[in-house]
Amino acid sequence: MTMIQCQLCGETFDGSAPIGCESCPMGGSCTLACCPNCGFTTVDVQRSGPARLVARLLGSPQRRPHAHTVADTPRDGVVEVTGFSEMASDSVALLRAYGLDIGRTVRVVQHRPMTIVEVDHTEVALERDLASLITVAAVNQSSARDL
């Protein structure tokens, strides 16, 4: 699941759940996502390499003010874990054992080839699929000292 924030109305929605694709001439094979609230089209940059490259060259659209999952959080972003969305219980248990638990502050180190987060003095590498299921809320940088 990739959470996307609509750039027009601000609605947050699941980009991997197709909405309106059956009536679209692109037939759902594109990397665009339509907002269920206003229908505005947003590029899912996580699914499109060229879009990601161009977006990077033009600026840093990934540095959004409100990150929603660890996978959405920009590099060096510090966020607080708020939950595990539809994650298998054994994966949750494993992440919790490494210290990645609700209420904990984590720093995102990198996303490619795997997402690496820092919690306390531990660096944990996890697959992007898992990272996209860890919901987070932004914290201010002064909280980073809690790491």
């Binding site: 054994d90 494993l94 919790r96 210290g99 080839p113 690496i116 531990t122 590498a125 697959e127 699929d129």
Partner: protein, 657 residues
């Protein structure tokens, strides 16, 4: 600043270790990669192979702790309860089955919260404990300040700061271990959890561990507790027990434990310290970068090729096999045997073409030993530097194609040292499916150090293209078989999560010690098999059966694989150990009896053979005889089939003839 290494003296109540002999043992428990094995070595003087990546200790190791007056058990890493994977369950089994004098929990001083989560879980077993906060030097470097005395007071057990690799704090830990105490801390669970625990305790018979610990393990779905309940099915009301379990209760238990670990951590932490920075941190980052990390992979591979393939298999083998054995030792042994042994048959058995000395001992010590020793040194450097988990991160995508995840990189790379040893480490993988797939791929196409050295020496000496062809075919077979097997195997691929330990400059002493220990282990296994292999070949040769077998295998070896008839005997040796067979092929190639094409075909085929008799036995031990038979039955036809196809393709394009 309050440093672990200083404060722990205050928290240790007993100054002297007793000289007692007891039937009970001390169990070392802790997260993976916190230095349990290093402390075990310091406490017992035993040479356990330790490494800077999670999951090294796959066998439960026991040794006498002379100064402690009883045995010490080194257990596989345990992240948390409930236990996951066979290695973690092995640790819980010890808690269930072993008469324990005490538990010594080894924790990471800089990651106190994680450490204390396990402490509060272990405290529920009501077994006397001590807590060693290891890697105190790293905690100090990062500015972590802990009040160890206060922590000791809060937990009701002795807490000691240690730096195991420098043996700092070990005497204090031994003193603490002589006076372990049952922890006085206990988790305040929510009311619904306490009620559930009470109900389960009433339904369960008396168990091997404290009844509350057993009840909590049942409620959180620990597989070892579940198995114990199944074993006592006659005494328990299983439907009633199952009815009490729920995810809400499980979450409640975990959250209460976590809250306690959190409160304790905050209470005793004066400074949480700073995250790792500087050159080590930067190096750690670069090695996992998708592009910048690739030169490090190339560097590791080129370094391995240079050190093992050129220096070990070239320079050292030349020195040992040709100069030492060929010109100094063997002529003297042959003269002695010819002088003192009159029976021709016995003489041939010792110094003939398939003689115990001229083939078995010479191959084992002159050819294989230098290759194995150099590989183990190189592997030790990779392990201790903390690079292996980073390699797992970089290669995760490739393993994903085979339906696996990067966690498989540890057994796969270990397989380059010894497939038998690597097969044992598959128990660190999370699912039965992953364990089977990696076992199959290890048996099929991961060359062990001895064989790799022979391959690098033989094909590397021929041409880089020959080596690249061999590597591409073997890798291609691994990918295809892995891809197909992953789709045929039931179950889903496990998601990959791993800890990345800090990059460290490997110390010389531990690498030498572990290389010696590994070489000792290898020689103990390989020399008898080489001797048995030589003896069997001698018997087959003396009875004329070898000639018949070679004749019978000619349609395959000569007709299908396109190899010289002499290669048939080498392939027969390959049934015992594929490196033994590869060594035989090396000798044939060195005599100028093979073309480049034949060398690639021969090395590809023998690489895809089952590694050795020992590895088949270990597969049977770990995964059962059915799996061992299935893997063996699958691997040989694939090896022969692929070898023949490679022979025809290379012949058709006219390469290397």
């Amino acid at each position: 600043m309050i440093q672990c290494a200083i404060v722990h003296h205050e928290s240790v109540s007993s100054p002297k270790a007793p000289n007692l002999v007891c039937d009970e043992s001390i169990l070392l428990v802790g997260h993976p990669n916190v230095g349990k094995s290093t402390l075990f070595e310091a406490l017992t003087g035993s040479r356990v192979i330790t490494a800077n990546y999670p999951g090294t200790t796959v066998e439960v190791t026991r040794a006498s702790g002379q100064r402690l007056g009883c045995d010490v058990i080194d257990s596989p890493g345990l992240l948390t309860l409930p236990s996951r994977g066979e290695d973690e369950q092995a640790t819980v089994h010890i808690l269930f089955q072993e008469p324990l004098r005490s538990i010594a929990q080894i924790g990471d001083a800089k990651n106190l919260r994680r450490t204390l989560l396990l402490t509060v879980e272990l405290a529920e077993f009501e077994i006397p404990m001590v807590l060693a906060l290891n890697m105190a030097d790293e905690a100090d470097q990062r500015g972590v300040e802990l009040d160890v005395s206060r922590l000791s007071e809060k937990l009701g057990i002795n807490v000691v700061g240690t730096t195991a690799h420098r043996k700092v704090g070990v005497p204090a830990l031994e003193s603490a271990m002589s006076a372990p105490r049952v922890p006085t801390c206990s988790v305040a669970y929510p009311l619904d959890v306490e009620e559930a625990v009470e109900t389960v305790m009433a339904l369960l018979p008396e168990g091997p561990v404290a009844s509350k610990a057993l009840a909590l393990m049942w409620l959180t779905g620990d597989p070892v507790a579940e198995r114990w309940v199944l074993d006592h099915a006659a005494e328990v009301d299983q439907p009633a027990l199952l009815g009490i379990r729920s995810s809400a209760i499980g979450d409640g238990i975990h959250e209460a434990r976590l809250a306690m670990a959190h409160v304790l951590t905050n209470d005793v932490t004066h400074s949480p310290g700073n995250v790792l920075s500087g050159a080590r941190a930067k190096l750690g980052r670069v090695t996992t970068h998708p592009v910048a990390g690739l030169p490090f992979v190339a560097l590791a591979l080129v370094g391995l090729y240079w050190f093992v393939g050129l220096f070990g298999a070239g320079t050292l083998v030349d020195l040992m096999e040709r100069q030492l054995f060929g010109e100094v030792i063997n002529p003297r042994v042959i003269t002695l045997v010819e002088q003192f042994i009159g029976f021709e048959l016995v003489r041939d058995a010792l110094i003939g073409e398939y003689g115990l000395w001229t083939m078995g001992i010479t191959y084992a010590f002159g050819l294989i030993l230098p290759i194995v020793a150099t590989f183990f040194i190189a592997f030790g450097v990779l392990e201790d530097s903390g690079y292996l988990p980073r390699l797992a991160v970089l290669t995760n995508r490739a393993f994903r194609a085979m339906g696996l995840n990067g966690k498989a990189v540890v057994p796969m790379v270990l397989g380059l040292g010894c497939v038998t040893m690597a097969t044992m480490t598959t128990r660190t993988l999370d699912s039965r499916r992953d364990r089977f797939l990696v076992t199959l791929l290890l048996a099929l196409g991961v060359p062990c150090s001895a064989q790799l050295g022979v391959v690098l020496g033989m094909l590397g000496g021929t041409s880089f293209v020959a080596l690249a062809l061999w590597g591409s075919v073997v890798l291609g077979v691994l990918l295809v078989v892995g891809w197909v097997a992953a789709r045929l195997m039931p179950g889903e691929r496990s998601a990959f999560v791993t800890e990345l330990p800090p990059m460290r400059l490997p110390a010389v002493r531990p690498i030498i010690v572990k290389t010696v220990a590994r070489v000792e282990w290898y020689l103990r296994e390989v020399v008898p098999l080489f001797l048995i292999g030589s003896a069997l070949l001698f018997v087959l040769d003396a009875t004329g059966l070898l000639a018949s077998l070679v004749e019978a295998s000619k349609p395959v070896v000569v007709g299908w694989l396109g190899l010289p008839p002499e290669a048939a005997a080498a392939f027969l040796m390959g049934f015992f150990r594929r490196d033994f067979g590869a060594a035989g092929l090396f000798v044939i190639a060195s005599a100028g009896l093979m073309t480049s094409t034949q060398m690639v075909v021969a090395m590809t085929t023998i690489t895809l053979f089952v590694p050795c008799v020992a590895s088949v036995l270990v597969i049977a031990k770990e995964r059962g005889w059915q799996v061992a038979a299935g893997v063996t039955g699958l691997v040989f036809p694939i090896a022969i089939g692929v070898g023949g196809v490679v022979s025809r393709v290379l012949g058709a394009v006219g390469w290397g003839s």
